[in-house]
Amino acid sequence: MSKKNEVPEVDIVIDHEAGVIREVKQPGLRSKSGHERRVNGGIYTVLVIMSIIWLAPFVFLVFQSFRSYITESGGMVAYLLPKQWSLDNYIWLLTDEKSHFLQWYGNTLIIALFCAVIQTLMVLSVSYTLSRLRFKGRKLIMNVVLVLGMFPGFLTMITLYFLLKQLGLTQQGAIPGLILIYCASSGMGYYISKGFFDTIPKSLDESARIDGATRAQVFMKIIMPLAKPIVIYTILMAFMAPWGDYVFASYVAFGSEPNYNVAVGLYRWVNVNDYQGFFTRFCAGGVLVAVPITALFLALQKYYVEGVTGGAVKG
């Protein structure tokens, strides 16, 4: 038994009721040093400030969207909280005859859904091919794609515009035109999913092929179920990119209002139309755009993280 004046950090106590021996830590002895506390405090302060800066625009956007353009002001004002909360902006967006919002929303949704399907198929099949098949020029293709990927997409903007125009895929044809643009080079984004496929042992493919599966069956029945995180990650990315795109959408659809996507349409309200009058409606539109993507992201967050890190471990 220890002497009382030495004060052990941990007392062994026999809990007769529970019939167990448990360790009881003595209060005061295990506290962290002051230095460690100060460092932690500093780190947390920085983090809190950063997250406030980060979140402020979103909070601002949401507050503005609830300020009525009829009873208060539809423009910019010098205060943050609306004096009276109202859904006028949303009602106008969804019901007013002059609002094209639903059409734009639909356009964007169509483009994003098509892209999600086509792009996912392309990315995954390119990745699987590059990961599993060995053919002439494989290394070359991978390197060329890597280098090409370093150039920003809008370098090709003018060429693409004239190409699309000749095909009749601008303005009235903007929706298929945009789908074409977004999906065209999507196979180049094979990197992360190829890294993921590389981590699935090749002997699974071989085993399945001996078991009687064709390459396509191996892909669908063995690889796809195992690559669920990366499939979801790819779908998410493919959906999100066109959902929020402004640059391509603005010039391909230029001048044809019914064919805008939400980003372009909303922006043109505040830019071309009455800036002061449409600001709160612009904010409400922004909120509506953010809702589905946020929900999707939260629901699939687990897979998303797995997808990114899974591909990264043995990339």
Binding site: S203, E206, A208, I210, D211, G212
Partner: protein, 374 residues
Amino acid sequence: MASVTLEHVKKIYDKKVVAVHDFNLEIKDKEFVVFVGPSGCGKSTTLRMIAGLEDISEGTLKIGDRVVNDVEPKDRDIAMVFQNYALYPHISVYENMAFSLRLRKMDKEEIHRRVCQAADILGITEYLGRKPKALSGGQRQRVAIGRAIVREPQVFLMDEPLSNLDAKLRNQMRAEIILLRKRIDTTFIYVTHDQTEAMTLGDRIVIMKDGFIQQVGTPQEVFDTPKNLFVAGFIGSPQMNFLKARLTKNGQGYAVQVQGITVPLEEKHNEILRRKGVGDMDIVLGVRPEHTSVRFGNRENAIESTITVNEMMGSELHLHVSTAAGDSVILRLPTVDLDDQTRQSLSYGNKLYFNFPGKVMHLFDPKTEESLLY
């Protein structure tokens, strides 16, 4: 059930690296053949060519009477067990085993019958509902074998199936494979780097090195009459001792002079050497550790050596000794007849005398490394 014939089969990678040279072998129906050799010898490549997972660069491969060079793996009617099991992790053991049958669109009841039967043979019935993740290494290997059995394939390929198991389980599974082979009686091709597995499992062993077949024969044949230095050293554990020696012809008989002793050859060996017209020459003499005898009393015509290491293996001692000429030799000595005093004398630095009879000697040409007695 079918024979497998390889005629002049070659594997060349990138037009440069030759992994398998001119491989000729006929595997009979229902035969158990083991490819054995050190890593990089081309044994797995050959197996993968038979499976159809690697292209055949040159030569012909036949399963039964059918040339299958350009036949897809799925159409070759073979089954393969992989070293890392290659179980499909996302489906249950039952589905793993049923996978190939489902692809074949087999009747559901027949699938169920075959899966249950295979599970019964392998003792994995109670794990059928589990995912592979929830199984131990040995159980996974059983499932992998079960997946192959249900197919009732013509040829059963196994690529180092026991390498991932621990030593005890490996011995147990080895015995089970022998039993399994009796039950399902089909053509087996088995790849391993472990000569013990090769010796215990194979009807015939194919020993390979650097893409060349070194020797093909029954375990007894390759043990008794190794064709060259490599085979002699590879088969048997601990490995054969090699000593520099001189072969001398004396009338009709031959004798080997080694480390100051002279050992005459047996008549059947004399005859082989006479037929080959061998004269006096320097040779490499091979003697297996188990064929040496330690001389405690009579030191006449025995080689003097110094003990460097004494390994106690239980039923026997492995004595590493160094001869006066500087060669190191391993001797196997059964412990059952040794008294305590002798046992204690067998320690580091002490002198030890040993010799061996003529009939256990293997003679190799130092230039060609081929056996003179083959």
